[in-house]
């Protein structure tokens, strides 16, 4: 996990600290951006934007709002969803879906050389918690989180009643919260 002190060093203009931050977070952020955008080229562009924004705006980070990793993930997801929407507005077809996004991920899959044992354990715990959800709940959460769809858009996409979609997301998130609570109770994410 990323030490908040690393960000404090970056605030002071420490280039080495910034390099370290990249090494510790780039695999995760790349995975996330690729899952959302589905395009390697676009993912790289996005990551470049995100890290430059971190370099400039790192002073805005406040530990009271979450861990450094949570901040980076929120920022990356937010920027990626913006790109996805901008692409949709320009009339381009979204290339992401569960199936389509799986192919490039498999090619590059493998642990990051900077990944700690705690990271590996966390990945296993989260992966197991997500796959243990009913498929419909998992799908509804992923459509919201990785494709930026509102519950109304998800209901239209799946041709399901709005209430059903809301319930699926709520139940899925609630179950994940119960299963993974210890992950941030242990201090990793709080």
């Amino acid at each position: 996990m990323i030490d908040p002190a690393l960000l404090a060093r970056i605030v002071k203009g420490d280039q080495q600290a910034f390099s370290q931050l990249y090494d510790q977070s780039s695999t995760l952020l790349h995975t996330l951006a690729l899952r959302i955008l589905g395009s390697r080229e676009e993912t790289e562009e996005l990551l470049q934007d995100v890290y430059l924004e971190v370099w400039r705006k790192v002073s805005r980070y406040d530990i009271g709002r979450g861990t450094p990793v949570a901040w980076l993930i929120t920022l990356t997801r937010s920027r990626a969803i913006d790109r996805l929407r901008a692409r949709g507005a320009r009339g381009q077809q979204a290339t992401t879906s569960l199936e389509q996004s799986a192919a490039p991920q498999v090619r590059d899959s493998g642990p990051s050389p900077f990944e700690t044992q705690a990271d590996q354990e966390l990945r296993l715990a989260v992966g197991s918690a997500i796959t243990s959800l009913p498929a419909a709940q998992q799908q509804a959460i992923e459509l919201a989180y990785y494709e930026g769809l509102s519950h109304m858009e998800i209901a239209a996409r799946l041709n399901q009643p709005l209430g059903t979609v809301k319930t699926r997301i709520k139940l899925g998130m609630s179950k994940l919260r119960e299963t993974l609570r210890h992950s941030w109770d242990q201090g990793d994410f709080e």
């Binding site: 090494d23 995760l28 470049q48 430059l52 493998g110 989180y145 519950h151 809301k166 993974l180």
Partner: protein, 339 residues
Amino acid sequence: MTHEELEDAVPLYAAGALDRTERQALEAHLLSGCPSCHHALKEYQSLAALLPFGLVQSQPPRSLKARIMAARNPVTSAVQDGQKDPLKPSLEPGEWMNHLFPPITPARSFSLPWAIGFATVALVAVAAYVGWTFTSRLSDDAARMQQLEATLQEQTTKLVSLQRVISERERSLMELQGDASRRAHDIAELKEQLFQRETELESLERQLASRSAGGQRGRTPQDELAALLRQPSIRVVSLSGSEMAKSASGILLYDASTQKVWMYAVNLPECLNGTIYQLWAIDQKPKSIGTFHMDSGETAHLLVKRLPDFERAKKFAVSLEPPGGRPEPTGAVYLVSQS
């Protein structure tokens, strides 16, 4: 939206599934300081930030780091900033959180033109004036508010005490009602009893009337004797058996108010062959008072006759006479007075 709806919206917010209107409603609610929603959101946002860990990892190309490190100079940054403006994100990450948790370190500004500095000073001065005016108005309002609150509290206290009095009155009224209802019931019962007693009384009066009407005609000698024995002025003469009937005896009672003589005789022998006992009052000569008959098995007999001149008689006697009796004694004497 109700609080329950807002609370339900928290996991959807963290997953990014709310539309703009719903998002704004929830953010407004969070800014109002709801602790339960705030706590839930922190947890759900921590959870949302964990989700990418569940993805199959994919590493970026090595060249990316070099590009990023090279692009970090201020000129490039400025160019990057310029490029980013048209793509201003609708969702600044954790933007609402800035309101809840103001950053500890404020955003830095590396170069401030002096004009901005001057404008800032002017703005601060204006703000201070406005603030002072506003504060004094606020303090006036606060004083008025305190006064109103004090009045309200006083009225509330009065209201509470009045409510207590009303509730006490209601309770005693209910008790009185219960008492009145019990008394009404008692009165009804008493009326019923009175009616029964009146009916019984009427019936008794009727019986008494019929008895007293019949009593004048059918009054028995025994009844009169019983009444006679209770009178203190009664005269008593005892009779004893003669040689003819040693075990016989009798008694004479005289009531001067009615001038009646009562003779009660016991153990006299049975009258045979039509013979009859005759009672005599003896002054100068014997005078018949009346006759009576002793049947077989009869041991006592009561004879009642009028005798106006009882006081003049010196002696009384009972003799056995031939059927129908005689004007003067002819048969044996069976009972005779002591003096």
